[in-house]
């Protein structure tokens, strides 16, 4: 649980005399001009020239630099673990089978039984009572793709289970023909899917881009390898970061997320761990995958393909990961909670204050934070 150590004086920070609980506390007010509304390449920057705030886990020292200088903070032997999940065009525009009313579907996760967990958004007119989402509805998407609405998710009631009329390659083909990336309101334009991919992305399945790695360029990756910094990749198909429901979003419930860890990645991680080298997660999804398997396997990683709902919080004892590269995301308690597993809350608070004062940009196209 993370609460601000004292009320800050800066005007960018909303004062709250009595925070009710961690989930109701918004320690930072994020000025809207700090939303990264476009990819760096579209604001005149190279992909890897976003800003980087380096936070020392032990001392709390903050260093402001540029992402392409990250090599200066990494040592030969450090192991960077990437999430190679590729972003899906997960937003599908559909129609209710019976009334033809518009409905937006945001794919969240493919479940083991072949159904999809998805966020369903009805048009406001419908919410006023014309239509109600219920089990058994049919949704049509064109391109011969349709789905049946199965049950509502118990834990995250904005999500529903859907069974589509296609699966495998055929399903993927249709989704890529009709889908759009999940986009949020702060964007200045409907950026196309390719802006939502990391250069190293492989198999498609993420509802949203695992964006911590977005600033890596091939040039930088090759440079790191040249320096002896090791890399490994796991796959975790990230779900949605928002259910477009304030109460749910404050709880920051992660849907079940599918992940894979290969033998090859396991070997690299074990070697790094055994020789006391740093293991740096490129994104919180990597933290979730590695810590999930470690929690199940007595602190060891092993090759696996399974699902996780793990939420890393301040009191979580990290077993594998020693460093984290992450974006600057919604200044809600939950994201800071995860960071608090790495550093003392006060240090995060100071660092985030500085990030706002220094006009760092937030969200998937924004600046980055390295915690080592």
């Amino acid at each position: 649980m993370l609460l601000p150590p004292g009320l800050p004086s800066t005007k960018n920070i909303r004062k709250r005399a009595k925070p009710v609980s961690v989930h109701r506390t918004v320690p930072f007010h994020l000025p809207s001009e700090l939303n990264a509304d476009r990819p760096p390449e579209r604001r005149g920057l190279a992909r890897d020239r976003v800003r980087l705030l380096v936070l020392d886990r032990n001392t709390g020292k903050v260093t402001h630099t540029r992402f392409d200088q990250i090599t200066e903070f990494l040592d030969p032997g450090d192991l960077l673990v990437f999430n190679s999940s590729r972003t899906l065009p997960a937003t599908l525009a559909g129609r209710l089978g019976h009334s033809r009313s518009a409905v937006e579907v945001r794919l969240t996760e493919l479940l083991p039984d072949g159904t999809w967990l998805a966020l369903l958004l009805l048009q406001p007119a419908i919410l006023r009572g014309k239509d109600v989402l219920t089990k058994g509805l049919r949704l049509d998407f064109g391109r011969e793709l349709s789905c049946e609405v199965l049950e509502q998710d118990q834990r995250i009631p904005r999500l529903w289970k859907l069974r589509f009329s296609k699966s495998g390659t055929e399903f993927l083909d249709s989704v890529y023909r009709i889908g759009q990336p999940v986009r949020y309101r702060y964007l200045s334009a409907p950026w196309r899917l390719s802006y939502y991919q990391n250069v190293y992305a492989l198999q498609p399945g993420a509802a949203e881009m695992p964006s911590a790695g977005r600033a890596f360029t091939w040039r930088l990756l090759l440079q790191l390898r040249h320096r002896g910094v090791e890399t490994a990749a796991i796959t975790l198909h990230a779900g949605l970061s928002s259910y477009l429901d304030n109460d749910l979003d404050r709880q920051h419930l992660a849907s079940e997320e599918e992940y894979w860890i290969s033998e090859e990645a396991v070997a690299k991680i074990r070697r790094a761990k055994d020789s006391g080298r740093r293991i740096v997660a490129i994104g919180t999804t990597v933290v979730r995958a590695l810590e999930s398997i470690a929690a199940e396997s007595g602190g060891e990683v092993r090759a696996c393909h399974q699902y996780t709902q793990l939420r890393v919080t301040a009191d979580y004892r990290l077993q594998i990961v020693s460093g984290l590269l992450t974006g600057l995301h919604e200044p809600e308690a939950s994201h800071l909670d995860l960071l608090a597993a790495f550093v003392a809350p006060g240090m995060i608070y100071t660092a985030y204050n500085e990030a706002i004062e220094q006009r760092y940009l937030w969200h998937e196209f924004g600046d980055l934070n390295l915690i080592l």
Binding site: T169, L172, Y176, S194, Y200, A201, L202, Q203, P204
Partner: protein, 250 residues
């Protein structure tokens, strides 16, 4: 074990001509998987049926796509990466469009057609390489771009096609240089005159029987896709010449 039995290949322009011949040649070398891309779905389906018979162990995925479209390319990439499990060994950028037939002089070339030819023949290989690199860079891979004599000599009347191939030659050289320190190899091959629908369209007054059957020029493409060519990189080779002698070992 045959030459390609542990490998997965993506071939563009696979429904006819050289692309189709390459798909069959790779299948006969027991390639692990094939992602076959073309504009027409039916010929792809027929080709898949044929390969299913001659090489039942080969996993064939067909992708109907227009490589002139960036969104189609993203779809091709995603389906390929899913099908190959994130590990691609061979990428053959074979798809080409001639542009409007009969070919007109640049003097008269419609701008939209010029753009479309560059999109298919030049931008799509660039994007496919860029987007599929992650699936090749750790384990190594072979990228083969199909070029043409028209990419070295500016023949009158070959319009945007020739210019796109000039571009492809430069693209290939630059990729090869940038990837020189990686296990990904880039080579480009001029298949020479072949009896294909495209070539017949380009030179309707010539006798196509004087040109090679595409099935007769596949050897070099099998070689470049296989481990036998491990040290061959950054080279322009001609399929209908004595290419084995032309190879300089890297």
């Amino acid at each position: 074990m045959k030459l390609l039995s542990d490998r997965f290949a993506l071939i563009t322009g696979a429904s006819q001509g050289l692309g189709r011949a390459l798909a069959l040649a790779y299948a006969s070398e027991d390639v692990r998987g094939l992602a076959l891309v073309a504009r027409g779905k039916e010929p792809l389906q027929k080709l898949k049926s044929k390969i299913d018979k001659i090489a039942p162990a080969t996993n064939v995925v067909i992708i109907q796509a227009d490589l002139g479209s960036i969104t189609d390319i993203e779809r091709v990439v995603a389906i390929t990466l899913e099908a190959c499990g994130g590990r691609l060994d061979i990428l053959v950028n074979n798809a080409s469009t001639l542009g409007p037939v009969p070919m007109s002089y640049l003097l008269d070339y419609p701008a939209d057609d010029f753009q479309q030819v560059l999109n298919v023949n030049l931008i799509s290989p660039f994007l496919l390489i860029q987007n599929l690199l992650a699936a090749m860079i750790d384990h190594g891979g072979s990228i083969i771009n199909v070029t043409s004599d028209a990419g070295r000599v500016g023949y009158p009347g070959w319009g945007a096609y020739g210019i796109s191939k000039f571009g492809l030659e430069g693209l290939s050289q630059t990729w090869a240089a940038e990837l020189a320190e990686t296990p990904v190899r880039v080579n480009w091959v001029d298949p020479g005159n072949m009896n294909t629908a495209m070539h017949r369209g380009a030179e309707p007054n010539e006798d196509p029987t004087a040109w090679a059957d595409p099935a007769a020029v596949t050897d070099i493409f099998v070689f470049l896709a296989s481990a036998a060519s491990q040290s061959v990189r950054g080279q322009r080779l001609e399929a209908q010449s004595n290419w084995r002698n032309a190879i300089t070992k890297g």
